[in-house]
């Protein structure tokens, strides 16, 4: 099969089969990402218009089996400790499956808020690793829970501000080098908090546009290799800044499509590499922002279907490319 088009039926069946790989060692070695993987798979299906391809009840029961009763958050897998990374995925799945009544909102909001540090950043769990990724997880989750009102916004924004670098980008912590994925988490958190005035749009837009390489793909930092996942990290930030036209959409679309596995389905980091669900969602998400025909609109701030976010009244002022006709 040719990779000049998005092979939707093949990707749907690839995602459906992910849970059947129990005789594969890699499946077991990635249990620490299981709940994230379910969120990636579900979101990819929703953007391809096939949310029905995985059983809703089974998924909700799995999410609830990852609940860590002692901490009051979700772990990545039954029996694993609660962590913000898994907690956000759990909440996102419940929102997308319209099953928020299953969640103890007070408890989980309390868990999330307890992880904010005096500097304004969030730790991922009680063991104290800090990162702007966790700050985004907290802000996104609290927003979905309708509990942003309990957050110290000034302190939170203050930390993001102190991570801003001379190139307009943001890093993982104060003083850390700009990286496209950290740019996404910081810009999206500022969008949710209504504080995009903290972004130097011209400088950051320039830096993001320079992430595109001659083969059309995007990298995450200067002088690094392209990778499909940056299609989302860079494009989401560009769409929040309303600068998606600053890169060549046609060339990037062709690059993402060329990283598909035309036999087994799924998308890889680069053409010819092994596929995984992480690159599959971020490839599909990138294509949605680029206006690829037939896809559902993705909200780049929350990385969920735009319709779901609009229904909750949470839509921010971002701009993707218009959806093209086939």
């Amino acid at each position: 099969m040719s990779t000049s088009e998005l092979l939707i039926p093949l990707h749907v069946s690839y995602i459906q089969k992910l849970g059947e790989n129990k005789d594969d060692l890699t499946y077991h070695l990635t249990s620490h990402l299981r709940l994230n993987a379910v969120y990636w798979g579900l979101t990819a299906l929703a953007i391809m218009g096939r949310q029905d391809a995985l059983d809703r009840n089974e998924m909700i029961e799995f999410v609830m089996s990852c609940w860590d009763e002692e901490a009051g958050g979700f772990g990545a897998h039954p029996g694993h400790d609660a962590h913000l990374l898994a907690t956000l995925s759990g909440i996102q799945i419940l929102v997308m499956q319209d099953a928020m009544e299953r969640l103890d909102v007070d408890r989980v909001a309390k868990f999330i808020l307890s992880l904010q540090q005096p500097s304004g950043v969030f730790a991922g769990d009680a063991y104290g690793e800090i990162d702007t990724r966790f700050l985004y997880c907290a802000v996104n989750a609290l927003s979905l829970l309708g509990r942003l009102g309990d957050l110290d916004v000034k302190k939170t924004v203050g930390y993001i501000k102190s991570c801003r670098n001379f190139d307009g980008g943001f890093g993982a912590s104060i003083g850390a080098e700009s990286h496209a994925a950290q740019v996404f988490v910081c810009v999206a958190a500022l969008a949710i908090l209504g504080r995009l005035d903290e972004v130097d749009v011209d400088t950051l837009g320039w830096w993001l546009a320079e992430r595109q390489l001659p083969n059309g793909g995007l990298n995450g930092r200067p002088e690094k290799l392209e990778d499909v996942c940056y299609s989302f990290w860079v494009l989401s930030a560009l769409s929040i800044l309303k600068k998606v036209p600053w890169i060549d959409a046609e060339k990037l679309t062709a690059f993402i499509l060329s990283a598909q596995d035309p036999e087994g389905g799924g998308i890889a980091d680069r053409p010819g590499d092994m596929v995984d669900v992480f690159h599959t969602i971020f490839g599909v998400a990138g294509l949605s922002i680029l206006g690829y025909p037939g896809l559902v609109d993705l909200d780049p701030v929350y990385c969920m279907p735009a319709e779901v976010i609009e229904a909750k009244g949470l839509r921010k002022d971002w701009q993707a490319l218009p959806r093209r006709e086939k």
Binding site: D23, D24, L25, H28, L29, T30, S31, H32, L33, A76, G79, H80, D81, H83, D125, Y127, G128, E129, D131, N165, F166, D167, G171, A172, S173, G175, A176, E177, S178, H179, T203, G205, W206, W207, A209, E210, Q212, R221, P222, E223, K224, D227, K243, P245, W246, I247, D248, K251, D261, E263, G264, A268, D269, R270, G272, D273, M274, V275, D276, H279
Partner: protein, 317 residues
């Protein structure tokens, strides 16, 4: 999965691999189950600790097991121990995480565990006021810089290692002079000019940047850094000096996108902030010509160049 080539195995090869993996999977699942059960039972024994070592060796991403390991260290292994024994315990942890980082330099959880251990190294055997008073702590933190340098030798762009380096420098019991850090980043930059991570670590310096521009005008790390050095509110003199230097380079490299883009940027700054002191007409004409050239040389970003042209038009109206 990053950078792993896709191969389509024959059905026979696939079956053979599954056969081979079957026992490994069983062993791994049995070990995971044993550990999660012990964790539930609040087992803080030496045995439980050894099990976590075995599992983390196979899968250093299993964050719950790192958490449990720390709980065992606190609630089990360090109970009723002398400071010296605790120092030894943590030193062993540092050795263990070093080995793990060698094979998995980008696993956040290992770096995290290392931080946790480092912060708990006791001060030292001597009484307060003596040289040895914080001897253990000092030598542990000093050792960390050496460890990070080893990892940066292997991959000079590993941002987890650079983040850790900053963390160590900020927390050292005896702070290291800034000049030493500057010397280190200079060495890293000279080894490879496109090492943006090292550029990032240092403060202002025009000469080094100019040198790097001439060595490799296609290297964007240098241009981004240069723009920061110039800043957002530069004097006319500085802007004209830098434009002149880049003009000269453009003369030698007439297709250089970065030369053109930078001259455009600094010219727009001149027109915005110093219009009364420059030849507006000539500068505008030159900027327009370069923007037109950029649309041809760098078509991916043509829309950005068009928008810059529009800004120019608004500026002049």
């Amino acid at each position: 999965m990053h950078g792993v080539k896709r191969v389509k195995p024959t059905p026979q090869a696939l079956e053979a691999r599954k056969q081979k993996e079957r026992s490994k999977i069983q062993e791994f699942l049995a070990l995971s189950e044993d550990i999660l059960q012990r964790k539930k039972d609040n087992d803080f024994s030496e045995d439980a600790f050894k099990q976590t070592t075995r599992l983390l060796h196979v899968n250093p991403e299993f964050y719950t097991v790192w958490n449990y390991r720390r709980t065992i260290l606190v609630k089990g292994l360090s109970v009723n121990r002398t400071e010296e024994e605790i120092n030894k315990l943590l030193a062993d942890e540092l050795v263990m995480t070093m080995a793990a980082l060698k094979s998995h330099p980008k696993v956040y959880w290992i770096w995290n565990h290392r931080r946790w251990c480092l912060e708990r190294v006791p001060n030292g055997p001597g009484a307060e006021g003596e040289d040895t008073a914080n001897g253990w702590k000092k030598s542990a933190w000093d050792q960390e810089l050496y460890v990070v340098e080893k990892l940066l030798d292997a991959d000079a762009r590993n941002f987890l290692a650079w983040n850790y380096r900053r963390y160590v420098l900020a927390g050292m019991p005896v702070p290291r002079p800034d000049t030493l850090e500057l010397a280190y980043t200079s060495k890293k930059i000279q080894a490879n000019f496109s090492n943006f991570s090292a550029w990032h670590q240092r403060s202002k310096e025009f000469d080094l940047v100019r040198n790097a521009m001439y060595t490799d005008p296609d290297d964007q790390s240098v241009w981004v850094y240069h723009r920061w050095l110039v800043g957002t509110r530069a004097s006319r003199g500085l802007l004209e000096r830098e434009i002149e230097a880049i003009d000269e380079l453009l003369g030698e490299q007439p297709d250089s996108k970065w030369c053109m883009e930078s001259i455009v940027h600094y010219s727009v700054m001149l027109l915005k902030d110093h219009a009364a002191e420059v030849d507006v007409e000539q500068l505008t004409e030159k900027t327009r010509r370069l923007l037109g050239e950029l649309e041809v040389q760098d078509p991916f970003r043509r829309q950005r160049y068009r928008e810059l042209g529009e800004i120019l038009a608004v500026l002049l109206s």
